[in-house]
Symmetry: C2
Subunit: 342 residues, 2 copies
């Protein structure tokens, strides 16, 4: 069996990574269609050594498509993902458009593969930071029930797409030449700076990005009572997101037990030998499909608390890899769990 696959938003940072990951994982692609906005139509991309022409995303393009991977922003997903489904495709959407729709499964294959079963053609990939965090919360939750989480994220510029990456690059190069930095994508310079501002602000003072950490975690873990307070921060790092997590559990989990839980969870790599300066870092996770967890310690401020630090490539497990793992799940490929253990 092989499939006619579409990538919507192929020229973006996630779209480009989707091309790579499909190829690396030898996803059974019979035919690949690449879509983007009018601006990019006519460009070409390379897939498995062949040149593929980028087509303009427009009504009618999904005829014959079996699997459509969307990463072109919420507005495009809202408009076109239902069209893809209506044309008979399975749509796997990387935007936030449908994540909280109760009829749409929100899937991290290592965690809630079963949720995919009830899909109606459309499935959603969670927020990138949520995926990285929940990959470590899940084994802890299964063992000891997580009740409250305080999370502070350190998010790479790739989370704002290819233009976010370009912004950090060009600002840093300007600095190196002694020239002024220009801020186009973010409201302030990001090179050598930090912006505690991702997505829009709500009346509560939280950002939408921060509330995704709570809302999506609840849906993925199927635990509507779990409480997550987040602070999400853009940092001058290219592609990996890091999260400082302080979790409170119903029963105490020792650091040793947590290490054992993390170590055997698929898709998660224990990287915790601080004496040897071994802990997760963005430069370690970049280009990797697994998330890395370390700095594991029993919380000194709480009886049943555990603190740790988890890092994952935002473009891969945070987006493209997770989307393609969902596709693998749907076509009945060996479980993503096994794939992840390379």
């Amino acid at each position: 069996m092989s499939y006619t696959v579409a990538i919507v938003g192929v020229t973006g940072a996630v779209g480009q990574t989707m091309l790579q990951v499909l190829e690396e994982r030898k996803f059974p692609v019979r035919e690949l269609h690449c879509f983007a906005s009018e601006r990019s139509a006519g460009k070409t991309v390379t897939f498995s050594g062949e040149t593929v022409r980028v087509e303009r995303l427009a009504p009618g393009v999904f005829r014959g498509i079996e699997i459509a991977l969307f990463s072109a922003g919420s507005a495009r997903s809202l408009e076109f993902a239902p069209q893809a489904v209506a044309a008979g495709a399975i749509a796997i959407d990387n935007s936030s458009a449908f994540r909280m729709d109760p009829t749409v499964p929100l899937v991290v294959p290592e965690i809630n593969a079963h949720a995919a079963k009830g899909h109606r053609g459309l499935l959603a990939v969670p927020n990138c930071t949520t995926i990285v965090m929940v990959m470590a919360l899940k084994p802890l939750h299964d063992a000891a029930r997580v009740v409250r989480v305080v999370a502070t994220s350190f998010q790479a510029v790739s989370g704002a797409g290819a233009q976010g990456v370009e912004e950090l690059r060009s600002q840093t190069l300007a600095w190196a030449k002694g020239e002024p930095m220009e801020a186009r994508v973010f409201p302030h310079p990001i090179a050598f700076n930090l912006l505690p501002h991702i997505d829009v602000f709500l009346d509560t003072g939280y950002t939408k990005e921060e509330m995704k950490l709570q809302n999506e975690t609840r849906k993925i873990l199927e635990e509507p009572g779990i409480r997550v307070s987040g602070t999400t921060v853009r940092v001058p790092v290219f592609t990996a997101h890091s999260v400082s997590v302080h979790a409170e559990t119903e029963r105490k989990v020792t650091a040793a037990e947590a290490r054992a839980l993390f170590e055997r969870f698929p898709g998660l790599r224990l990287w915790d030998d601080p004496e040897k300066s071994r802990y997760p870092m963005p430069i370690l996770a970049e280009g990797q499909d697994d998330c890395f967890v370390g700095r594991i310690r029993e919380d000194c401020s709480l009886e049943n608390g555990l603190a740790f630090w988890v890092v994952g490539d935002q473009l891969r497990k945070g987006a493209a890899t997770n989307a393609i793992q969902i596709a693998e799940l749907l076509i009945g490929r060996p479980h993503a769990e096994d794939q992840a253990r390379h």
Copy 2:
């Protein structure tokens, strides 16, 4: 009245800032002596338009010194601060050597000026990240008693001294030229990366830096029961430290009340208008004596919780400015509180 002042460690990042801050604040210096290691002896520094020769730090140098500002690391403070005191000077120490000594006041002038009164010649400046965090915790604590804090720090490379600044600079320049980065000061590259590792690791898995947040906060706030769980992270930022704080208080504090409390606290600037992309950032705090607080919100995961983001220049309020404010306090200058309200 004017004083014979010494700076020990004048060639370091904090020592250089001490020179600037003494000058800016017109501290009444009659005579300035600058000390450093043998390697730097013979160099010159400029103070108030005059050239001052750097002398080698050695026994006997403190004769005639009235105020000695130490920022040359714990080993040098342990050896020489008691000598300065024995010679009749007041020693104000920026290292961690004496901070937890019960006979040594640990002073942030806006917070616990009264603690300085009992000094025996030696006073300590708290850890830079602790100062930035506690500047915002204090008004909250006075109003509603802080019982538990979860803090994640984003610490600038200047916290590792002038060589930390040089490391970020040279790694970034190497990247700009397409050359490999060399890590000399930190165990891994810091440019475009994050290191969840500051100071040494303890058996509990926490770093010493993380435990300073709890231990020093307890001493400064005179609240031995306060619990602080920290995650301290080195980030590719030059000189300002940022802290994501999630605080639990005995009674509920609304966001509006917190804003009012922060706004009237000396040395703290309320910078909290997220709709206008106005929030504290390292590039805002760099070169400023005040700390900036924003992103204030009632914690969605806790009844009596408040989350906020506080940023301060590590070399200034986190070190040099705080040290000189202590000196001003001791010589009976108008309160640091008033000075800070410029």
